[in-house]
C-alpha cells in the first residue's frame, strides 16, 4: 500500500487513472450496452456477411440489399436498407429466411446458417443502412422482469393476435400469428422492435425495454406454468374443449349405454 501511495504523486498517475477509468467504463459499456453485439462487428464480418448475402439472399433482396421487383412491379424481396441487424438475427435465426416458397406467410423452419454466419449477415445488413441492433442480453433477461405487469401489457397489446396463452391464432387471408411457446427471449425482443412480416412494430420509445422484458417474463411464466387442471386443451379456446366433450365424454357414455343395453353372453 505504501508503494501505491508513493506513486500516486507520480506525474503520470493522472494519466494512468484516466486510462484505467476509460478501460473500465468501456468494458462495462461493452458488457451492458444494448448494441454490444454490434460493437464486435469487424470489417471482416461485414465482408464475410456480404459474401453470404450475395449467395443466399441477393436473388430476392438484390445485390446491395435494395430489394427486387419483378416485371409487373410486384415486390419479390423487400429492401433491407435500414432493417438492421435485429431483423436479420430474427428472420435468419428462426429459420424464416431464406424463404423456401412464396406464400401468405413465411413459416418458421430449421435454421440453415450457423450462429457465426448469422452474425456476419447481420453485420453486413447493418452496414448498408443501420437500423435496430441485436439487443443485449440485459434487455431480455426475463428473470429480471415482472410477469404480472408483463401479463397486463401482453393482454392489451399482444393477446389479440397471439392468444391469451401465446398459442397464436389466425389472421386474414392465410396469415397467422405464430405460437410463442419455446421462442427464445432474444427473438421475442427482436420481433417487437422490428415487426417481422405482418406484425406491427412496438418501438422502445412507446413500449419501453422494461415493458418488453416484462412481456417476455410473462410468456416464459406461461410456458413453464403447469396445467393444474390436466391436459391443456383449453389453451387454444373453448372450441377444442367442446370437441373433447363430444369425443371423449359423449363417446364414453354412449359406449356405456350400449353395454347396458347389450344382451349378456349365453
Amino acid at each position: 500500500m505504501t508503494s501505491l501511495s508513493v506513486r500516486r504523486r507520480h506525474p503520470l498517475a493522472g494519466v494512468v487513472v484516466l486510462v484505467l477509468g476509460l478501460v473500465v467504463i468501456g468494458g462495462l459499456y461493452a458488457a451492458f450496452a444494448p448494441t454490444s453485439r454490434a460493437q464486435t462487428d469487424s470489417a471482416s464480418d461485414v465482408e464475410a456477411g456480404k459474401k453470404l448475402f450475395s449467395v443466399g439472399c441477393a436473388t430476392c433482396h438484390g445485390l446491395g440489399g435494395s430489394g427486387v421487383r419483378d416485371e409487373t412491379g410486384q415486390i419479390l424481396g423487400p429492401s433491407l436498407v435500414g432493417v438492421g441487424a435485429a431483423a436479420v438475427d430474427f428472420q435468419v435465426g428462426t429459420g424464416r429466411m431464406p424463404m423456401a416458397a412464396p406464400g401468405a406467410q413465411v413459416p418458421q423452419k430449421d435454421v440453415i446458417y450457423t450462429d457465426e454466419q448469422i452474425r456476419q449477415l447481420a453485420a453486413y445488413v447493418e452496414s448498408i443502412g443501420g437500423g435496430p441492433a441485436i439487443p443485449g442480453s440485459d434487455r431480455y433477461d426475463y428473470t429480471q422482469g415482472d410477469p404480472v405487469n408483463g401479463g397486463e401489457i401482453f393482454r392489451t397489446n399482444c393477446a389479440a393476435c397471439h392468444n391469451f396463452a401465446g398459442q397464436g391464432g389466425a389472421l386474414t387471408y392465410g396469415k397467422y400469428a405464430p405460437n410463442l411457446m419455446n421462442v427464445i427471449p432474444r427473438h421475442m425482443y427482436e420481433a417487437m422492435i422490428t415487426g417481422p412480416q405482418s406484425m406491427p412494430v412496438f418501438s422502445d420509445q412507446v413500449l419501453t425495454p422494461e415493458n418488453k422484458r416484462d412481456i417476455i417474463a410473462y410468456l416464459k411464466t406461461v410456458e413453464e406454468e403447469p396445467n393444474p387442471g390436466g391436459l391443456g386443451v383449453g389453451r387454444i379456446g373453448p372450441v377444442s374443449e367442446g370437441l373433447w366433450a363430444w369425443l371423449v365424454g359423449i363417446g364414453a357414455l354412449v359406449g356405456v349405454a350400449v353395454w347396458i343395453g347389450a344382451k349378456s353372453s349365453t
Binding site: I153, K175, S198, P226, N227, G230, I260, T266
Partner: protein, 353 residues
Amino acid sequence: MSDSPADEGREIEPADTSTLEPYEDPGLAPHAYRLTDTDPKAAKRAERQVAALFGLSALGTIGLIVAFVAFSPLDTINIGFTTTSASNFFLGLSLGVAMLGIGFAAIHWAKKLMPDVEIVHERHPLASSAEAKADALAQFEVGTDESGFGRRSLIRRSMIGALALLPLPAIVLLRDLGPLPGDDLTRTNWQQGMRLLTDPTLRPIKATELEIGQLVNGLPASFAEIPEAEGTQRQVARARDAIIVVRIAVDELQPPPKQADWGVAGILAYSKICTHAGCPISLYERTTHHLLCPCHQSTFQLNEGGRVIFGPAARPLPQLAIATDADGYLVAKLPHGFQEPVGPSFFERGGRS
C-alpha cells in the same frame, strides 16, 4: 280417405291397410339363457366381480380422503403428457374410481345376476272413454253455471280487466333496473386537445416515437384521472374510449376526403371497439393494413379510413382525428373527439356517417 261415417268429410285420414299385412306377429322369441343362468360357477364368478368392483369404489373413496389431506392445491405432479396439480389429479382420479366402481358393479350385477326374462305389460289407450269425457264436461258446465260466469257479464268483464292490468306493476317495479340511455351511447370521454395515452402503461405518446408499422393501444388522458378505486368507471371508460394508433407510410394512405387531414405524418387513430358487436380489435397487419376482429372476423382497411373489407361489420371503424400539441404529444384534434358514436350499432344512433 277413410270412409267411416264419423268423418263426414271434415277430417281426411290415411287409409286403413291392415288387410295387406304380409305376416302375423310370431310372438316373443324363445328366451335364451345366459351363462350365469346355466352355470353356477359363472354366477359365482360374476358375484365375486361385482363385490370386487364395490370394493374398488370403497378404495377410491378412501383415496380421495388421503389425496385431500396429502396435497395442497399448489403441489404439482408430472403425469406424462403434462405437469398438473397433484391435488386436482388425485382427487379427480379417486372420485372417478369411487363413482365408476359403483356404476360398473350395479350394472354388472343387473346384467349377469338379475333375471333377464322379459315381462310383457299391456298398454291402455290414453284417451278417456267417451263417457268420462262427457261427464267431465258436464261437471265443468255445472260449475260454470253455478258461478254464473257466463251470465253475469259485469263480473266477468271486471275480472278480466283486473287480471289484465296486473302485469303492469311487474313492469313498473322493474323500471329502476337501470337509467334511460339518453344520449349516453353517443358520447365518449374524448375531448378536443386531450392527449392520447398508452394502454395499460398510461404514458402520453409523442408523434416522433412512432415508427412506420407501429401499433399502439391507447386510452384518453381522462382515463388516468379516474381514481384507482373507481373500478366500474374505469371499465366503462375502457369499453367506449379505447383506441388503437398506427403509423402507416404516407404514400400508402388513401383516406376518404373528409378524413384527409385527421392524421399526423401517417399516424392514424381509430376506435378500438368493433362496429359489429363491440369486441375490442387490435389485430393489425402492418403490411396489408388490415385490422381483424377475433370475434367475428370483421376486417377494416386502416389506410383507407377504416372501411370494412370483410366480415359482418357494416360500418367503417370510427376514426379519431388527431394533431400534436405544443410539446409534440398526440392529442384529439376535433371537439368531442370522435365525430360519430363508437361501438356497435343501435336503433337511434343516427344516419350512416
